[in-house]
Point group: C2
Chain length 620, copies 2
Amino acid sequence: MFDTTTPAAPVVPTRGRLRPLGVSEVRITGGFWSDRQAVNGSATLSHIESRLESEGWLPNFDLAAAGTLPDGRRGREFADSEIYKYLEALAWEIGRTDAAVDSDLEQRFRRVVDRVAAAQEPDGYLNTMFGRDGQGERWSALQWGHELYCLGHLFQAAVARARTRPDADDGLIDIARRAADLVCREFGATGRDAICGHAEVEVGLAELGRALGEQRYIDQAALFVERHGRGSLGEIEFGREYFQDDVAVRDAEALRGHSVRANYLSSAAADVATELSDEPLLHALRSQWGRTVERRTYVTGGQGSHHQDEAFGDDWELPPDRAYSETCAGIGSIMFSWRLLLATGEPQYADLIERTLFNVVATSPGDDGRSFFYANTLHQRTPGVPADPDATSMRASSSLRAPWFEVSCCPPNVARTFASLAAYVATADDDGVQLHQYAPSTVRTTLPDGRVVAFEVSTNYPADGDVRVMISEDAEFTLTLRVPSWAEGAAVRVHSEDDVSESPAPAGAVEVARAFRAGDVVELHLPIVARITSPHPMVDAVRGSVVIERGPEVLALESIDLGADVGDAVVAGDPAERDGQVVLPVRRRSSDDVVEAPLVAYHDWARRGPSTMRVWIPTV
Amino acid sequence: MFDTTTPAAPVVPTRGRLRPLGVSEVRITGGFWSDRQAVNGSATLSHIESRLESEGWLPNFDLAAAGTLPDGRRGREFADSEIYKYLEALAWEIGRTDAAVDSDLEQRFRRVVDRVAAAQEPDGYLNTMFGRDGQGERWSALQWGHELYCLGHLFQAAVARARTRPDADDGLIDIARRAADLVCREFGATGRDAICGHAEVEVGLAELGRALGEQRYIDQAALFVERHGRGSLGEIEFGREYFQDDVAVRDAEALRGHSVRANYLSSAAADVATELSDEPLLHALRSQWGRTVERRTYVTGGQGSHHQDEAFGDDWELPPDRAYSETCAGIGSIMFSWRLLLATGEPQYADLIERTLFNVVATSPGDDGRSFFYANTLHQRTPGVPADPDATSMRASSSLRAPWFEVSCCPPNVARTFASLAAYVATADDDGVQLHQYAPSTVRTTLPDGRVVAFEVSTNYPADGDVRVMISEDAEFTLTLRVPSWAEGAAVRVHSEDDVSESPAPAGAVEVARAFRAGDVVELHLPIVARITSPHPMVDAVRGSVVIERGPEVLALESIDLGADVGDAVVAGDPAERDGQVVLPVRRRSSDDVVEAPLVAYHDWARRGPSTMRVWIPTV
């Protein structure tokens, strides 16, 4: 049934401009992201499992199997989904590391799957919160119940398993299939005319349909997408836009409401548009993406400026000090952008992915992989208090990373993203391979006509901007390298046995098409220097301020480096680099002294203890 | 038992710098506030009663009396309190209008009191949400249950009744006394060592103690105040500062957490400090007030910049577009400032009261007195949708006034404030009378030594700044007139039979001490012209913007006057007055055309339908 040549990637459309490469075709071999993948594998995954146990969220499945629920159930409505995200992360980690059947990773995966399997009802229903005596009825609480949401994450976990270990006998894929069949029976065209209050089942169903070759799952995803915008979920304090039930997806002008929900739904809509060749829908989504990035996205790539409803604000409403910028919204934005990149091939989508990876996703986990930012403020006014490593934070927003949260969506979301990250590095088309993200890596794939494309990428990116691609096997193909929009003055140089050619590389993408020989080298030079970025004049909250960026990284000023609270800091000159460290002349309003303050990458803030911090620094 | 010479005022300390004058000593006879008092009396009060009936909050008391609760109880935990605030408003309205015993107002008051009385338990307990079979136990949910909070409002209602109709036989005062006695038994020094999650019982107990001469009520209020800051309410998502349980009241540096709670608690602490001559506590409160006004208060006087927890932000965190600035927080701020004014006599407190009255409290009600702003944003980015006059809003924040809210604290809070407003106009001391707020009014009071001070105030304030005080009866006394901090170039002129003298009136207060004759006139001239106010440089959110003010009124730019969305408006010149209308040259970023746009008083915004609006207008 499976197409075993399918890339081991989270998103594998059947059509579109670019074909993804999976985690067996692209390996990240060192550098910035490899370090994070290593910590994710060695620390984060076991941290998550230990918390899923101690919080009772995984034991909920045992209680379900024992028939003793609802007594003893712990966690919120969506607790089940964290187990599925953890399974997804494990599946990608198994694929990424090519873990053996008797490996610890495989054993852990199978043990959790067994516990989930035991909780599934004979008809495929699977949820520890609903459907039993003493619980709410199945599907009776679609507004806040998250039943379909949880199943969407189950489906994504099954997709990860199906694409990395298609021949595994653990049963997860069958669990997902039975649940998906139930969803189609219950919510199909002749079933309940309803949607879930948190989009996710759509993107899960669409991908499960792709992975298992079940068109009706994709059609069911399309039905759910189209059912948004009719107000069927009812009115709530935050308005119907909270769950994108205010306007039909294809009629909306921008992402709005709860920013994770918005991005998950948009991702599903992109999947559906691609699979059903729904060009008007794809056009609408691209337009919404454009307006959202221009007017509703922080300089970090972060999305969502409201704490109250974890939602997008109005156009231009981007306060740095109350940036919610949820880690999961950043991941959702990457999901959406990635689908548009695959559909269109346009580098702007990869640009935003890079911005969001470096400045939202990389910001969340602590160095030890056991603490996380849930929200990612751009301005911290008061130093925080170190989190108790044994505690569970009740607060999504904090000035220091916390080990776990009452609503703990972010840690497993980061884990599954890091474990599958290689799948976002490169794509292929009929003519060659496109490199979207720069990391030390090896790439080897086969083009549709049988040509093998293989190369090795060496780089210190983002510490510097030199990216060296060495061809490993002779082949004629087109190598496409993304040139980020900030990389003014970029150049590409091709070294072959016979000659060296150099040409400018304007922002967008540069193509090198030739009959490559093993040993040929393509060098991309991206000028990485500290630069001053002024805000869009319509953004009221940062008027009269600037941000310092360097390559893909947004920089920040921390009190620990200024030697004083950053509250009254004013830019007093241009940034410079001293021994590889960006420094900025800063005046303090209270003293008028000018000091040269080191800046840190935003993703590195709050790693040295409590601190106040600014991304946007006033100039007046 | 009652001291019938007590002023009919909400706050009557037994010591302090100034003695309040009650609603029988000061009558507002015309102008800005008289108009609002008239609408309050003719429309708002009956609107509130009709909603208390239709929402089921008043019928809850009937169910309690019938013994059928909890079945059929409607409304949130704090619903009882709205009935008490309504009773308080009615009591002040009866006092203000000197309503007869057989008047409609009196009949309505007594009917509601009868229904409340029937619900009180024999031991004094009174709450429709707790204590019965099928309900939570009494005092079992102090964090969110609002039982003591509700009683605090009952006490304030009883105080209003005791001070306006001390000889009434309706029984409200006894109801309050029985409930207060129960609170003292349950929560006294040897009782439960606990506090309520929403401060209010403290301020109610303190004043009931003053009104009934019961020192132990004041001591109980002091106990509750001192019990804050020990974390006894537990941890919540918003932190312990939400209910001011993070730091002892006397150790805090500023108001913080939920802004209504913070102001109610601070008001109670001021009462306690005054009654117990606790100078260190009073000193701490004054210092907290200063920092809060400097760093945590909007230009409108509004407080609370967080929607999520209805809370103060950090110092300097004052985003206009997400200003929560709850109407009730403004009222709470007036309560706190008024107590500090009585204790100290310093005009800065009356300045803030004026700012808050004109720009928060006056902003809330619609012209018909049947719709209200709950939150008071300073920047509306999208025009709203007119509220259904029959609906109940689920949202506290809206761009248009709504008739009622699921949490409907604001309408009755506005009603009780308007009905008692005359009590905030003037005070007395041993030497004379201080006029704090300027409105057409008559004042007549007796000083401690028997001198009668009587005068009439005529003014068009705030349309213009000429205030004319004509003495009605011969008397030697000191007339003190507040000179607002914005009134640069103010002057006072005294006309008597013999001479006319004029002198400058620097910001603060000007005293005119003499043997006045009936017919003497004191004229205060406050220069009221449109002025540009620049923000404090530490407030990030409005850097590069200014606000236009005129006298005590903050002005706003509405799209309906600009003829376009105000989002891209930039100040292009100085404000001017044309035929009594302030106009401002405004450039639009999108067109570069400069137009002269009329400005409206902020309290008048959104009275002509959906509109976008700015208080802070960019200059760059």
